[in-house]
Symmetry: C2
Subunit: 284 residues, 2 copies
């Protein structure tokens, strides 16, 4: 298959062969990873997945674009990524790719589906929204042993009604600088579409949907809710931080392992290109 490998385009070159854009839907246990993004000396989801794809596709390297660049320790059940594959490679491997990846990937990453998408599909800039869930138990016994990798144990009872009230005040278009780790030039203005807190016996789920999130935003939002749930802060305190315009010093960042990226939504195929343009314009 070396004839195929020699066909791979170099960055900047016009492609020597037509490319197929491929969408991956994947899940991972973030415990053993230093987050999504590749780092030279650390184990990352991107690093493991790109290596597995290169092996299975018999390409010298592949480059993934992802919907949510999760931090170290954060999990995903509904992560989405895309890559471009030379047409002949896709024709040869597409049908068997899920099973072949299953045989090569470590057990803490699974690619659940692989499919051809229009070239206008962009896993990152085409996304309409990301949904994260943060899971907490306040059971006196602690965290269920078989769930302990993805549920935070909290040692005191939490008032989910106060937390839900606080969460509701944070929805809408706001500057979330109070809940973000500042990065040069990046906007902190986001639209929080939903933010709910629900209880099922001892298990609380904080579910948050937004067009995008700035760094550590979900864990800071949950950190603020935990202060409310314990009664250390009133329910309107988190919303009061929206006017700060800078990182709030007294908001804790909830531990990574309670957080899971559960869903990324995209528009219908005929609106993909327009969505990417809108997103890119907003980021600039």
């Amino acid at each position: 298959m070396s004839d195929v490998e020699s066909d791979v385009a170099e960055p900047g070159d016009p492609p020597l062969v037509a490319l197929t854009r491929v969408r991956l839907d994947l899940a991972y246990d973030g415990t053993g990873f230093s987050g999504w993004a590749s780092q030279p000396t650390r184990r990352t989801v991107q690093g493991e997945l790109e290596a597995a794809l290169a092996t299975v596709l018999r390409l010298p390297s592949v480059a993934l674009t992802v919907a949510g660049r999760t931090d170290a320790g954060v999990h995903a059940s509904g992560q989405v990524a895309h890559l471009d594959v030379p047409d002949p490679v896709w024709a040869r491997t597409g049908d068997t790719l899920v099973r072949r990846l299953a045989g090569v990937l470590p057990p803490d990453i699974r690619v659940n589906s692989v499919r051809r998408v229009p070239v206008a599909f962009d896993a990152r800039f085409g996304a309409l929204s990301r949904r994260y869930e943060y899971r907490i138990t306040d059971a006196p016994a602690g965290v269920d042993p078989l769930s302990r990798a993805f549920v935070l144990g909290w040692p005191r009872r939490l008032d989910e009604a106060a937390m839900a009230a606080a969460a509701g005040q944070l929805t809408g278009l706001h500057d979330f600088a109070g809940f973000c780790k500042r990065r040069d030039g990046a906007t902190t203005i986001r639209t929080l579409q939903t933010f709910t807190v629900t209880r099922d016996y001892d298990r609380l789920t904080c579910a948050v949907v937004a067009d995008a999130f700035c760094h550590s935003m979900v864990r800071s939002l949950v950190g603020a809710l935990l202060a409310v749930g314990e009664g250390r802060r009133p329910a309107d305190w988190p919303a009061s931080l929206l006017t700060l315009g800078r990182r709030a010093d007294d908001v804790g960042v909830a531990p990574a392992h309670g957080l899971t990226l559960v869903e990324v939504r995209y528009p219908p195929d005929d609106e993909l290109a327009a969505r990417v343009e809108t997103t890119r314009a907003r980021r600039d």
Copy 2:
């Protein structure tokens, strides 16, 4: 509190203080344990739990009786055990025992509830039935990363209708010698109350309820169903092994990590003593 410790009864002595019988409902991730039963040089659930109880109760030692002596690697979400505690110790610690155990136990064991029960309650001989669930996925992608500690991945599609038909033929009172590792003198006659196979997308659950199980019986039953599910054996093959009267050589034992003890049922308090007598008589 050394006055209390000196009150602890020695085996065979008449108790120096009245004893409270205490029921524990517990859960564990079996991955890191060499099963329930204490062994001198291995990490076991019983060993860890008895040590934690002795610490929290400030007793030199405690002795637990358990409903299901799970094998190495088998999990429990609804395990039940009992122990006897001197009345003054119970009076001092009962209300806070769950939280104090949560602070002392390793995260792969949780005691979810602790309560006083009649002295006729016997976690082992008083049980009416044990319910185990064996979880399998036949998803081409493999096992969900956050469930991989307790779900078996199966590399080929399974026919759950054939498996359910085979399971249905095994219910009732039978000699399960074909599915048991022989132990001297132990009966292999059991009543299988229910044995079902259900599918939820790619997840199959084999649920089995019986008065009791002999050694490796559930995993052998599931091993036989897997042969049916793959089409290697007809649906009436597992039931045909009931007439063997000895261990069937060609039944595989499914891996431990897919198996979880989920529920143990007991009669109402006024029937506890009668149930223990019935069970003991049958075992002899």
